[in-house]
């Protein structure tokens, strides 16, 4: 995917159609809509009215794409928040993949489903929680961004997250087994970071799908609502792949391992 660093109030060269729109916030759509074509200083002078219409049409389409992707992301976060993991999976393209906790989960109906419907479901992972006290995101991390490819067939995005992550406790203890039967027995913690996402337009219905998500976790902390302190914790990365780990990844992510160690 080629990229441009243009921001929302920078006017691209209307004569070139090879552009990538990047928006830092949904406000860009408002800005674009509020600037009439005829008010542009060069409109009708360099490329004529048709060129300007083409340029604005392209910009409008791109902004629509951005909005759809933001909607897609909102749906992703909402489904995760509500534990609707089957719905999460349906947002992915057939060849979608997820990088999570040092593991790569490949294929919508295989690895991705295994991650969300088994691993996430068992640990009730993904529920939105406020950042652990003392570990709030830096402003820079809070910035969302969406980039659309020039052919509008692909996109990338970056969104902050602040979620509860959980892992069922493995124990012979009857207490744990009883707790598991009623939905408990889960070790929970907080994770904050950024979703690095890529998207692809579905050939069938021309709707945006998630092609990949890399959960770039910045910090993990032992913290639950009601507790008066939070402390950073280390959670072991995936060390086994599927099927040795029945809900594990298809392969381990070396870069994730390096990043965690760093």
């Amino acid at each position: 995917m080629s990229k441009s660093t243009s921001n929302s109030n920078e006017r691209p060269n209307a004569g070139r159609r090879s552009f990538i729109w990047k928006a830092g916030a949904a406000a860009s759509a408002v800005l674009a809509a509020s600037v009439p074509a005829m008010s542009m200083p060069n409109a009708g002078r360099n490329n004529g009215l048709k060129g300007e219409v083409d340029r604005l049409s392209a910009k409008l389409e791109s902004l629509e794409d951005q909005n759809e992707i933001r909607e897609l992301n909102r749906a992703f976060e909402s489904f995760l928040d509500n534990g609707r993991y089957e719905n999460v999976v349906e947002l992915f393209s057939a060849d979608g993949e997820v990088i999570f906790n040092g593991g790569i989960f490949k294929g919508k109906d295989k690895g991705v489903r295994r991650l969300f419907c088994e691993y996430f479901s068992a640990g009730e992972t993904g529920k939105k929680v406020v950042p652990a006290p003392g570990f709030e995101h830096e402003n820079e991390l809070l910035q969302e961004s969406v980039e659309i490819s020039m052919d509008r067939g692909a996109a990338s995005g970056r969104f902050p997250f602040s979620i509860q992550v959980g892992m069922p406790i493995v124990s012979d203890s009857v207490l744990v087994k009883m707790a598991r039967l009623q939905g408990g027995g889960i070790m929970k913690w907080w994770e904050g970071g950024v979703y690095e996402m890529s998207y692809v337009k579905d050939d069938g219905d021309s709707r945006w799908k998630i092609k990949s998500i890399d959960f770039q976790t910045v910090v993990k902390a032992d913290y639950r609502p009601g507790r008066s302190y939070a402390k950073q914790i280390d959670i072991p990365l995936f060390s086994k792949v599927y099927p040795d780990d029945p809900s594990g990844p298809d392969r381990l992510s070396r870069s994730a391992r390096r990043s965690e160690k760093a």
């Binding site: 509500n82 609707r84 406790i169 203890s173 009857v174 207490l175 009883m178 039967l181 408990g184 027995g185």
Partner: protein, 601 residues
Amino acid sequence: MNIPMHRFKYTKLTKDEIGKKLKPTYDGPESVSELSDALSGKSLKIVTKEGPVLEYTFKSKNELTLVEDGGSKIKSGYGALTLKQMVFFSHMIPGTQKGYNVFADLDTDLVTVIEVWFSSDTKENAMMGPPIEIDAREVQRQIYYGYIETAGKEAPEKLHHLTNRIEGKGMYWKQDTGVETLEFYASVMSTNFVELTRHVDDLSYCAPTDYVLINDNMFVYDRTECEFSGIMTMYAVDLFTQSQIGMRLGFNEKDKLEYYMFRGKGKVVGHLTALEPFDEHGETLNMGFGPAPASDQPPPKAPKGQRRAYRPARSYENMTAEEINRIAEKNTITFTDNPNTPQAQAGMMSGNTLPYSELLAGKEFTLRYDHGPVYNYKVSDAYNLEWKKEGESKWRKETYRAFEADEKLLFFAHMHTGAKPPVSVKIALDLTNGLTTCIYSKVGSEYYGNEVTYEAFFGVAEMEGLESAKYLRHEFTDELVGRGFTRTYSDNMTSMHLYTTPHSSAWTIYMPDQTLGMQWCAPALYVKLREGVYIFDLVEEACNGAETCIIENDKTMHASGFGFHGGKDGINLGVIGAIARDLGQYKVKEYFGPHARRKGE
């Protein structure tokens, strides 16, 4: 009945056998109290939410006709009892193994219908292993909430519902049959109950339960003795008058049909503190069936009859004594943690363990138990000791751990390495008066090779500088009976201990919102060491066979001790620690023991 229910081998009655045994039910239930004619000559149309429409005509006080969902007319015997504005009637449907039990509030026209049936032919997911086939004799139930339809009157919006308002309440009941029970409604989905007259031992048992709120002083209750006889008891309660009207249906331990209605008088024996958030009013109930549905999604519909039933006996993997001995040779794990940081031991039963004590380091002493063993000890340091039975010449080395459970009151444990079956001792030793109690445990019982059995010995220590008593001893106690405590073993695991009787205890698991959920119970023993300091020892009998042996200190609200078990993963002696909250106490001691108020009355 003198065989504990968790040891009793109930007959696997077949569907045909049950069908034949149910024939008398078609004439309606028996009753010691006179049945009510409140419904005689009346007709009721009951409309339920997500359930049947039941059109009843009551010809007399023991004969009715029913049209179920517009079907053909069914004639059946029935019985009815009234309690204030509540009419409760019960009947089976001739030719079938099902029936209806209807609690109708004639003030509000709201109705709770409990459909019951036998021979469910269903399977249930187990804690481990394949799904469990439910016994045909186990009474199944489905609750429907509805109303009595009245011409010209709109359907009510608010119906009866499950509630947590009863959680924590304890009641004593005496039926018109003479049957007496203690019932601790300590969970939103289960009951601890003690059969004071049906059984000769003072043991409590657990059964899946539903609690339906009628109004602030009335509720409807049912429990099914899953894992045992499968019999069901249901009733409506008026807390103002502490009265009940109810019904019992099923087959007892002699496979004899019980289908009768009853009246009962009771007494609230106390409450345990519920720990749900204060904005919980009991209007909705978290049953812990998984993540809450999204706000825009209706809750998933549970399969008919679904309930949370803990079935440990059936999912327990039984091992032989020989298997245990073989495993013990290969894999006996004694205190796997770093001795300097007990709290850091991986696992959720020891996150709140006390620091280890060095008070025994360098000491030599003898522990002499009345009618029991005599042990000589030489303690090297905080983690290693040597011991031998008195009279033996060879000292045996063991690793041990000790906690100071109260001022100069040590609680230490170690294995008897090489013993067959595997043995551990947990020893309370009071360095102020020389009194000592030894909980001697071995892996293996007459029922299972991997079920721990235990025995308490009382005695004195002989140690330099210690003047021990000649007659005074630690002793069994009932001081903890009726008390409930939270046990927070780690931030990820809290349960409740309820000390139900002098010889048994129940444990209940908190759900994430601190509602009390699944529970089970087992025989236990209690020893008083000092004022407010006790040994509690329990083996999860016919469950996982594991022993929990702790000292409970009322002053610090901290329990510390040891866990001991044997299984396919080996023999394990580990440490346990939990901080506690006092949840209150049921006043029930008068109901237990050889001089109990009920005995001979």
